[in-house]
């Protein structure tokens, strides 16, 4: 949108982060090469620039890391909770201190806007460690009986959409409860986890308590399969989640899975419209829609559909897409060429199936992976774009006439992670929320997260909860 008031570029300084040309695996407190010497490159998705070369973990490395974690477990789990707490508080504080550096790093490696890493990811990461730090010496009060015991070694596999935040969601509760961890970050976003290794060093965390293994799916599978892993925590696609569920069958490994979603954002005719428009935008365009709990299906009451869509389109025209390091950027890059191809293919399917496609007018940068914010209108439950998780900045708009129709459509999905309700009527919020088969229901807001609040899905969106008092259960032998 051309305007007399154009914002001059306002890039966050890249010099606040010092990325080494290469990184090893972090095992038993040391950086080390992979046993087979393999490496892979991690690129900045907004420019395709190679940021660093990272050791690629294989099965042998997984075994070494699990052994280190096992060795560390005895002492770590025997520490008084108050001492474990102090380590975690230290980590939380160091993250706060280094948050600008980590925000820039995350933006470079992931492609998401600095506005989000600075104002959402990093504050939530620090808060998560701070919150679980406080639990370490209070487990007797958590509602799982007296002196609940840790499980042992946790094998954790995390995705690329919120690399450091997902690490925090996994590591903080695991350590607070006395487990040790082996964590595999995603192959497209290994860097913040490796910087976290350095934070563990600064905090004086005992060796082997946290081990970081950058790598691909084979390393993740080896970690899940390892016989000396007691707990598997996975966040990622439903397909991989199902494979993990099969892998652990017949073992006594405890499992939590946080998988895909196709969240319904339901807007009633008595909604606070301007705020609903913001909520829809946040719901699907936060992190380029690469959010498992994204409100990717807009269910709008027919009586206000035209008015709402006009407002939404006008609002989308003001979104600023471009350099993720620019402080005024709202929409950053798609994380990888592979993900971009998947989004593109699904959008093409939407068009082929007859849904009407609309994109905000915006210029896409010539290098990097980009996808303009996109709406599909005239979508029904029968369209692929209403059923499959796109994991990108694509919103499917459906309409409904009555609350029960809205609920029926919202629930008509294999997934059940999140939902949104927009209405000024309190009893409608609660009645609809009661009927929704989803793990998180936001009313008159969307995509809100807090370490005290449990998060997780129904149905094929996975099982187990992360966050809050409830998040402790996944790491306790209860």
């Amino acid at each position: 949108m051309a305007s007399a008031f154009e914002y001059a570029p306002a890039p966050e300084s890249r010099s606040v982060v010092d990325i080494a040309p290469s990184y090893g695996l972090f095992i038993d407190g040391e950086f080390t090469d992979a046993a087979d010497g393999k490496v892979f490159k991690t690129v900045s998705p907004s420019t395709e620039e190679v940021l660093s070369e990272v050791a690629r973990a294989g099965a042998e490395d997984v075994d070494r890391a699990v052994k280190a974690a096992r060795k560390a477990f005895e002492k770590w789990s025997a520490l008084p909770g108050a001492e474990r707490a102090k380590y975690l508080f230290r980590i939380a504080r160091i993250i706060q201190e280094r948050s600008r550096e980590l925000a820039v790093l995350e933006t470079l490696d992931n492609g998401k806007p600095i506005k989000e890493t600075r104002d959402a990811d990093l504050p939530l990461v620090a808060a998560h460690f701070f919150y679980y730090a406080g639990w370490a010496d209070k487990l007797d009060h958590a509602g799982y009986g007296a002196n609940p015991r840790p499980l042992g070694v946790a094998g954790q596999v995390i995705p690329w959409n919120f690399p450091l935040l997902m690490l925090a969601w996994k590591i903080a509760p695991a350590l607070a409860t006395g487990n040790t961890v082996v964590l595999k970050p995603a192959e497209t976003t290994p860097l913040s986890a490796l910087f976290f290794a350095d934070i563990c060093r600064q905090a004086g965390l005992p060796k082997g308590v946290v081990n970081i293994l950058p790598g691909y799916g084979d390393a993740g599978a080896a970690l899940v399969e390892h016989p000396d892993v007691n707990k598997v925590a996975f966040t990622g696609s439903t397909a991989v989640g199902k494979a993990i569920a099969r892998q652990v069958a017949g073992t006594d490994k405890k499992v939590t899975l946080e998988l895909g979603g196709k969240g319904a954002n339901i807007v009633f005719d008595d909604a606070p419209i301007d705020q609903a428009v913001e909520g829809i935008v946040t719901g699907i365009f936060f992190n380029q829609g690469q959010v498992c709990c994204a409100g990717s299906r807009l269910l709008v009451q027919e009586s206000i559909q035209d008015e709402l869509l006009d407002s939404l389109k006008r609002r989308l025209s003001t979104l600023r897409l471009g350099d993720p390091l620019d402080k005024n950027t709202d929409i950053g890059a798609i994380n990888s060429a592979e993900q971009l191809a998947r989004i593109t293919a699904l959008a093409e399917t939407g068009e082929a199936e007859g849904a009407e496609r609309w994109s905000a007018p915006c210029d896409l940068p010539s290098s990097g992976y980009w996808f303009a914010p996109t709406l599909f209108t005239g979508v029904t439950q029968a369209h692929t774009v209403a059923r499959d998780e796109i994991f990108g900045p694509v919103l499917s708009v459906l309409s409904f006439r009555t609350p029960d129709e809205a609920v029926a459509k919202a629930n008509n999905s294999q997934y059940g992670l999140s939902a949104g309700i927009w209405t000024e009527k309190g009893s409608r919020i609660l009645a609809v929320a009661n009927k929704l088969r989803a793990g998180v229901v936001w009313a008159n807001t969307f995509n809100k997260f807090d370490p005290t609040s449990p998060f997780g899905g129904y149905k094929e969106s996975g099982f187990g909860r992360e966050g809050g008092r409830h998040g402790l259960e996944a790491y306790l032998d209860v």
Binding site: S3, Y7, D119, P272, G279, T318, N444
Partner: protein
């Protein structure tokens, strides 16, 4: 000329109809509105865009003195300041208007002759608005006769809060008639006294339906004056009103805007809510006094590279 947009002629037919209309407007979610305003407040406006914003902001100021101690001398000093905000730099834009009490309007008019700067006068028993309608109208008549180009009236908050919307409406209509084609009318809601965002949205529509040329947040005389959320909400109202009627209404946040940083945040709200149609002093104003000097110091910083100080701008 009908004062009410034809599309809405029926909603002002009775107190009941007006109430049903105003209470039928979409609600405002407080947390969401404030979050949106705060989010726009994080926009980073630097270098060339900052220079543009500073000059734009200066040109939008209704430079104001509304004190019991005002004298012709004080008003003339303010007028001189408005015409040449920075005597060391003649490229500095002039302010939009000088805002005074009605008895000072004539002095201001004389002092501003030939500058193109408007005279704005508060009226209608400003700031409380507690007087009989004929007294308020006489106040307006006086100001217009003294040469005021713009009238800043206050609504009857007591009537509004007790639900007598039609009374408020009719009063605005009467003041508007008094302004005739001589003066543009700014309607002050005193948002701090209306208290809720729902009320601010209702007042905005009420004012626009009654023929306001501008809707304005505050008198500057109560605890809470212009804020980013209440101004964002009023911008949304003028945006929606234009979409439905084709009629453009101006917005004036007033009171409490003291720094360049604050002013730029408001301009970002304008830019991203209603767009460039409003990015001119015909449609957006700042009611302020100390803001001007901060803008001037920031302007000097941009041109010299050094931080300026209060000794390098003029007092008025």
């Amino acid at each position: 000329m009908p004062t009410t947009a034809p599309a809405f002629a029926d909603v002002t037919a009775s107190d009941g109809a007006l109430r049903r209309f105003l209470h039928g407007l979409p609600g405002v979610d407080t947390v969401g509105l404030e979050a949106r305003a705060a989010s726009l407040g994080t926009r980073s406006v630097k270098t060339t865009s900052k220079a543009y914003a500073i000059d734009l902001a200066i040109s939008m100021i209704d430079l104001t003195t509304l004190e019991g101690a005002d004298t012709p001398g004080k008003v003339r000093a303010l007028c001189a300041k408005g015409a040449h905000p920075d005597p060391t730099d003649r490229t500095t834009p002039r302010v939009a208007a000088i805002c005074v009490y009605p008895d000072m309007a004539e002095t201001a008019k004389e002092a501003l002759a030939g500058t193109g700067i408007k005279v704005a006068s508060v009226a209608t028993a400003f700031p409380a608005g507690r007087a009989a309608l004929p007294v308020k109208l006489a106040d307006v008549r006086d100001a217009v006769a003294a040469g005021a180009d713009e009238i800043d009236m206050v609504i009857d908050r007591g009537a509004f809060l007790s639900g007598h919307y039609l009374k408020v409406y009719e009063e605005i209509v009467a003041v508007k008639a008094e302004c005739g084609d001589k003066a543009r009318l700014k309607v002050i809601f005193e948002t701090g006294e209306l208290s809720t965002y729902d009320n601010i949205r209702r007042a905005s529509w009420l004012g626009m339906l009654a023929g306001a040329d501008f809707i304005k947040t505050s008198t500057g005389k109560v605890g809470v004056n212009a804020t980013p959320p209440n101004t964002l909400l009023m911008l949304e109202a003028v945006r929606d009103f234009k979409a439905q009627t084709g009629i453009q209404i101006g917005v004036k946040p007033a009171g409490g805007i003291r720094t360049t940083k604050d002013a730029i945040k408001f301009l970002v709200l304008v830019n991203e809510t209603v767009g460039e149609d409003w990015l001119t002093n015909e449609w957006f104003r700042f009611g302020a006094s100390s803001l001007l000097n901060d803008l001037l110091m920031q302007r000097q910083k941009l041109s010299t590279g050094r931080y300026s100080g209060p000794d390098y701008v003029t007092v008025d």
